[in-house]
């Protein structure tokens, strides 16, 4: 598993029921017009990758960032999952889902990826995954993956219907709402017993 080079990392929007509930009737209003029928994905490019323990730079002028705590499937092939890994999909807060939020989402270091990838036989059934998010030691969010709109296998199948994933590619299961916030100086820890801890400290951009 660790021999497979990391491929493209994809994130998934609106895969938690809470995200749909938070939007409510707005999903049917302009500019959205209707809820999505296909999975809504985005790319987190390689410049965004941070490792466990890395310091992540918050650009000057940015007050807070949003923590996108999730689990990603690491692919062994187009359809087989090699294992699961913790991720912190950071973003600058912005409320709009119409256009891809590239300048809020694709900043250097804004995707922390855990160093423990575990297959299903060790990690367990993703349907019962539960992770916790702490900022400076204080619990800020508990994410229960039983709340997914598309469970892992269904997400994979529906994504596979229009694009083929390859070895090393990663597909995040999604981020629940509301996303906790953090600022420069904070240490964020995302934990799940089988997948360990993903810890990163935010630092202010050097002047």
């Amino acid at each position: 598993m660790t021999d497979i080079a990391r491929g493209t990392v994809y994130g998934t929007l609106l895969n938690f029921r809470g995200e749909l509930e938070a939007l409510g009737p707005r999903m049917n209003e302009a500019p959205y017009q209707a809820p999505p029928t296909a999975p809504v994905l985005y790319v987190k490019p390689a410049n965004a990758w941070s490792e466990n323990g890395a310091r992540i730079v918050v650009p000057a002028g940015v007050d807070e960032v949003e923590i996108g705590a999730s689990v990603a499937m690491v692919m062994k092939s187009a359809t087989e999952v090699a294992g699961y890994v913790l991720v912190n999909d950071l973003s600058l807060p912005q409320p709009n889902f119409y256009r891809p939020p590239v300048k809020y989402n694709c900043l250097d270091g804004f995707l922390a990826i855990g160093d423990r990838v575990r297959a299903r036989n060790e990690a367990g059934d993703p349907a019962v995954f539960e992770l916790k998010v702490r900022v400076n030691g204080e619990l800020k969010q508990t994410v229960r993956f039983s709340n997914l709109v598309r469970p892992a296998d269904k997400l994979l199948a529906d994504v596979g219907a229009f694009m083929t994933l390859g070895p090393g590619d990663m597909l995040m299961l999604g981020c629940d709402t509301p996303r906790p916030r953090a600022r420069a100086g904070d240490t964020i820890e995302i934990t799940m017993p089988a997948l360990g801890t993903l810890s990163n400290t935010l630092v202010a951009e050097a002047a």
Partner: protein
């Protein structure tokens, strides 16, 4: 120089253009149709970032009924499996009613670019090529639009034929673009009509994300996109860069 990356005899070869043919690294001179063309990009250690612009030509924005042009680049990303080589095939889904080509100038980054000023932007370009950023409009939805179901389909973004060295293209902002379908001209334009030009885009992106060698910027398409059907031969051509051939299947 014009560089290509091709497969012949089960192996990948780097090649350069010579007298309308391909001069392989092993010194063989072969014809265009003797090889399988790959996207003309040297492999990168990490997945390359592929940025693509929407609505970057004023006429095309009108064509898609978006009214006025955007004030900020409309950009999306795609993965590498969307790329395809010259003289290849792109699948049109059976249920599609509107699948159109998009002839685009593609910029290949040559040096790591972070917080680059527009006056220095060309120093960071490695070369240029042609892209055809096909879109299947039936699948468009209004969440992170255009979505990956439209823009990240396997092999639906042909690229090539050549990677042309940046120094061979003194003014990328004055290149004629043209698309033909089965030999009929269906799209014409010029890169001078881009809303956000290449130096602007490099400055804009490198301000918030570091661009690495091998990263791509597909700079949008002008007016004149049209539906293409199975069997259509679509040629997207840019002055000085070559003609990228693709067949819809």
């Amino acid at each position: 120089m014009k560089h290509a990356r091709v497969m012949l005899g089960g192996r990948i070869h780097n090649a350069v253009e010579k007298d309308g043919q391909l001069l392989l690294e092993d010194k063989r001179l072969v014809g265009e149709d003797a090889v399988t063309w790959l996207p003309p990009l040297p492999p990168t250690g990490r997945p390359r970032t592929i940025l693509a612009l929407g609505l970057n030509y004023a006429d095309h924005a009108k064509e898609l009924a978006f009214g006025k042009a955007p004030e900020e680049p409309l950009v999306f990303l795609k993965g590498e499996r969307s790329l395809n080589g010259h003289r290849q095939f792109t699948k049109r889904p059976d249920d599609a009613t509107f699948m159109h080509y998009e002839c685009e100038l593609a910029v290949v980054i040559g040096r790591t670019a972070k917080k680059v000023q527009r006056d220095d932007a060309y120093d960071f370009v490695g070369g240029y090529t042609v892209a055809n950023d096909y879109a299947i409009r039936d699948y468009l939805e209004n969440w992170y639009r255009p979505n990956l179901r439209v823009k990240n389909r396997d092999g639906a973004t042909p690229l090539g034929p050549w990677l042309v060295d940046a120094r061979d293209i003194p003014d990328p902002m004055a290149l004629a673009l043209r698309t033909t379908v089965n030999g009929q001209v269906t799209q014409q334009g010029n890169t001078k009509d881009m809303i956000f030009d290449v130096p602007f885009l490099i400055e804009y992106f490198s301000r918030f994300m570091t661009l690495h060698p091998g990263d791509l910027i597909l700079t949008g398409t002008p007016d004149g996109v049209a539906d293409c059907r199975k069997g259509d031969v679509v040629v997207t051509e840019i002055e000085g860069l070559g003609a990228l051939v693709n067949t819809i299947q």
